[in-house]
Amino acid sequence: MLQIACPSCGASLVFRAQSTTHAVCSACRSLVVRHDVDLESLGKVSDLQPDGSPIQLGTSGTFLGKHFEVIGRIQVAYDSGFWNEWYLQYTDGSNGWLGEAMGTYFVNQELDPAGPLARPEDLRVGSFVTLKNEFFVVCEVSTSTLSSYEGELPFVFPSEKTRFTTADLRTGGQLAATLDYSDPASPTVYLGYYVDFDELKLAGLRDFNPELENQQGVSTSVLRCPTCGAPHELKAGGVSQVLACEYCGTAIDLKDKSLKVLFQVQESEKITPLIPLGAKGKVDGHEWECLGFMRRSARVEGMDYPFTEYLLYNPYQGYRWLVESDGHWTLARPILMLPRNLGSGDPVTEPTDNTLSYKGNRFRHFQTAVARVRYVAGEFYWQVRLGDEVRMHDYVCPPHSLSCEESTGREQVWSEGRYLEPLEVARAFGLNSIRQPYKVGPSQPDPYTPLKHRAWMWWAGYLAASFILMVLTTMISANKVVFSKTGVATSDPTSLTVVSDEFEIPGRTSNVEVRTTAGVNNRWVDFHLALIDSKTNEALDFGTGVAFYSGRDSDGYWSEGSTSNAVTLPRVPAGRYYLLAEMESGTTASADMKPGEAPSRPDPAKNFSWSITVKRDVPSWIWFFIGLGLMLPVPLWYWLRESSFETQRWTESDHAPTSSSE
């Protein structure tokens, strides 16, 4: 660190960084250059312009775990206002830049391009540039001029009036670059990352408390409407370009010193916004002030669909749009990271109907329409005009949305949105009433999806729990063979009727399984059975049957049916029983019968062996499967509701599902 006296005014001047060659004296605003042994004053620099920046010299922050302090600044003027390049001194002695404009932050460092760069006149918006083996999309080419400096700097521009070209290069990630042609002979590349304000953990920021600013002698700018005289307190002084008086409809050019009237909104067009201008509300954890109100209409198939937009401002976070359409609300923010094409993974240069990926979500194209400005009131950071038209491409991944606005200059502005419940908006801005949303919003989350998931989770949980319980039931059930008999059926009819010996069914009242088998092929056997309590002479009459068919055809061996079958009787009390069985057998298959033909007639049995086994207390899996079935209707119901909600959503889109009746 080098501390010296300003050659102009003698005030103390500090050079903290090794790399800095120039410094602006904070006392007299002289630009001082450091030579090997002495200092030289290069004269005074112009005053810094108010640009609404929350950063100041001395602000500290963190990037990628490295702490930095802001020691210098270059303020640059371009078509859309000002941007700042803040010169950073990292604690490890290195230096870098923080580009900042209207709530966007770009931490960057000079990069050796290791090859020739495109000439500025060859840069086309939408074309690709390769740097460090990465594809960058040229998103904006603008002409800028130096506005002013402060603090320490590693270089200065040849003259204050130097006009130079810069190009913004973006990717499908946070990585981005700026090409700086201020020295056309050797353009400079700055490579870095777009970061959120909160990520930088900035400290020592400017305080935007108006009272404090008044104490510091910075007056909040109040402007009187040249038509009606109404006072307007500019909320984003230095950034706002147009002020449309909400009382008389006069729109003033704030960039013009004589406050030129840009256009006049007709009285008949006047709309009273639901959220008043100047209202403050907390959304997404930050407090926003409503700066502007805009009514636009989207033209779809010859019909105009109006929607309203509230421009929200927070000096640290920048701008947000609160968009209301048919009672559905979306909070949108401009983004600089480009969405990618789902297929190729390349950043999108031309918005189409294709599905996009952004921050890991898949966005489906919803609608493309031309939106036209119908009414404006309040402050706007760009040169808004009535009748302005943009081509708007909307993509949704509820509750998220992506939108690209293409203006005639082929400039593309992307924004990401999040659906807000109307109540959330009403609560944030203290609104007493808010209109009920109409139909389904494009990015409205499907309320049935989480219910469906939960219902299926419960179904799966039920499956697991009932399976475990059934396995336990199987383990502890007696499953005890209480009777078993085998025999052979012949052409003798008496061999088809069997009366068993008495047998004991012990234990508590339980179910009883009777399993019948018959060693047959291409034949069916019916068993007419009666389980008779030998004490009470009460019979349980039931039946079962087996059928087995097999053969060979062109596909090879086939078989159908089974030689075994079982029937489970309910609640048989303990006692002594015997079994009566009558068998009937035949070969004709029911499926082979012609319509109207008598049912399969028994025919004399060819010899076959048979067996009957009686077990008590067998695990009954039927209840397991019935339970799974009974648990299905609720998830299926939610699935149906979800589908119908999605149908309603997409009916309003460019991709309306075609119904079968059409």
Partner: protein, 61 residues
């Protein structure tokens, strides 16, 4: 609301499944016939199971 029905149903069905297994309930409803002849053993033709349902036998191809 419906979700609660679903949950209660699930818990109820688990209980029912256990209870039905324990108490031996099944889907079969046999015909109960009282006072069948005591002579079946000697004369098997004296009683026939009432259950005469023919099963639909799937035939071969």
């Amino acid at each position: 609301m419906l979700m609660n029905v679903h949950k209660v149903l699930g818990i109820g069905l688990l209980g029912a499944m256990l209870a039905f297994n324990y108490f031996g309930l099944t889907m079969t409803q046999p015909d109960r016939v009282s006072n069948v002849p005591k002579t079946i053993r000697q004369n098997p033709g004296s009683y026939r199971s009432h259950y005469q349902t023919h099963y639909v036998h799937l035939g071969g191809k």
